[in-house]
Symmetry: C2
Amino acid sequence: MKSLLKLACVSLLTIPMTLSAQTEEAYPAGTVPNEHNVAGADYPRIGADKRVHFKVHAPDAKKVEISFRGEMTKGDDGNWTLVSKEPEVEGFHYYQVIIDGVATADPNGKPFFGMGKWVSGIEIPEGEAGDYYAVKDVPHGNVSKSKYYSDVRKEWRDCVVYTPAEYDKNPDKKYPVLYLQHGMGENESSWANQGKMNLIMDNLIAEGKAKPMIVVMDNGNIEVFKPLPGESMADAHKRFGGQFPDILINDIIPHIEKNYRTLTDRDNRAMAGLSWGGLLTFNTTLNNLDKFSHIGAFSGMGHIDLNNLDTAYNGAFKDPKTFNDQVHTFFMGIGSEEGPERVKNLSDGLKAAGINNVYYESPGTAHEFLTWRRCLKEFAPMLFNNN
Amino acid sequence: MKSLLKLACVSLLTIPMTLSAQTEEAYPAGTVPNEHNVAGADYPRIGADKRVHFKVHAPDAKKVEISFRGEMTKGDDGNWTLVSKEPEVEGFHYYQVIIDGVATADPNGKPFFGMGKWVSGIEIPEGEAGDYYAVKDVPHGNVSKSKYYSDVRKEWRDCVVYTPAEYDKNPDKKYPVLYLQHGMGENESSWANQGKMNLIMDNLIAEGKAKPMIVVMDNGNIEVFKPLPGESMADAHKRFGGQFPDILINDIIPHIEKNYRTLTDRDNRAMAGLSWGGLLTFNTTLNNLDKFSHIGAFSGMGHIDLNNLDTAYNGAFKDPKTFNDQVHTFFMGIGSEEGPERVKNLSDGLKAAGINNVYYESPGTAHEFLTWRRCLKEFAPMLFNNN
């Protein structure tokens, strides 16, 4: 590795200001730039062995780190380098460059909103297994920002709306809607950016596996996530996003149904969310079963006490037959590496109590976007088949 | 200033982990958070006097700077601060936080693509003068990402498309199209993010000042902007983006006209660009007058030799009457503080030669987005009135 870097430096000195084909051999063998790098940025690079190669030019820094990965090593040329010790898990991962203790976003990488701020991300290609979120030669839907006024919040807000490729070709057709929520510290941009939801939907729809549908994403971070003086973290969590069900039902859904060609009955309305968005999904849908008939929770959901099922969510589960008639999809997904037992137990317990539901376990993945991309791929085909 | 900061620190120590109303008094008087800060981020702050207050927590750094503004001062609490020496010019400005020599993006601020990377930005409110780009209670258009395959480049690309608020309400109506280009080092996201083009269009259309139109923005950075070995900067400029007219005409326009309800005759097609995008606009439109009838160049345009007007752009100006009949709008805008003489002379010279054109000078602004927001506000109402 070090001799390769030295070679790179010599090449760079003799061929100033260029990164043309002549110097490409100087990159670590088998590596390619991270797909989120801006044009011309050569690092981070992803190895064929799924290790990530980071490089930061910081001759005057005392210490440079990559978040979650550790300290970088300084070279004589002022470049700091770090290579993942182990092959990284496939899919999307956040990173920050930490310069002398200050965590920063990498200006050479596409920004992603996660952990409550704008951070950087790498993508470890999965190969064929990732085919379902690859950019393919299929009709592509649009991802748009749509502005609406929230009466609940008394402010203008943006939601992100996926319309399927055929939407503008069928001016008389109305579409079912999936409301899809991000996790804590993310926002309305995260499902399309980190989650590649538009590509997943494009591919599923093109293959006839999912019905063409509109997908709406909004920012559930209604309150700034900081506990008030004396407030416990648990109470802060409850407060954080506590307004979201109201906003969804009173502001977002009316905005979407007014401005898009939507099917507006409960059979054609679904909600799902990842992690904390799964909790918001349970809190919204199970308390409003007159409005939703498809429910998905990916790696996160509301607590349901199986021993007191009758009282959970205002009695939603009291009569299994009524629940099963009403709820056409009740999906709980989780990664095999993030402690799936609690969710599996919940699913099994609900089944034992006569509540139909689908349990999905993503093999080999943890609390990360690869789990949620897979959940969406499993969940979306189940929707709106009742018509 | 220093005593205010000290007060802030004391307050923060006594009320841990909160930024509630109780501590707000500790902020410099008359300042509010920059509009692009993420929720909960208190700095940068904009003063009523239009000075910007920066603050970065970096106890272990030796030197912290804000790009274009200079070195910050370290406090005993590990916070580095800087206040603009002079009131800043109204409108949008880039910044980077430079930690021990490494220029970084601020994770607490919305990212903007400029200078070839993802950087941070501040907005100095203009007050009433900025009313034309304020979020108002008017119908709002959508800004969407639309994917297309470029035969010229052999790659999938994204363009950004503004559709006016009424677009989805009029499924039989077709719309004229403005192709609108960013400046060097920016990309397809810049007009909507830095330029607030969607708000400008929403307001103009709502007031009946501009016709409802589709606006399409794409990335003109076709080649990475690095001179090849031995290549001059001037030649690199020529090469950089040299493919864009081809891509626009052969890939983007067909994609838009296939997927959106557009009027496809030359009377209903306009192109404009800022800075280097103005050069691309001249190069595209003046060589393809069969396809464009409205032309706008904001703070940048192709070189035209007034002494050899007949040969410029393949003879586009040879017959003034033909040109004037064909080109319904020929607009050149520039800021009064960026050396407007060259553009004024070009406009005057063309007028003297019988070539109709409009010269607009934005008072008090330089080579910056406020100039270009104003140019768009002046230019858009001139479009598509020929029908």
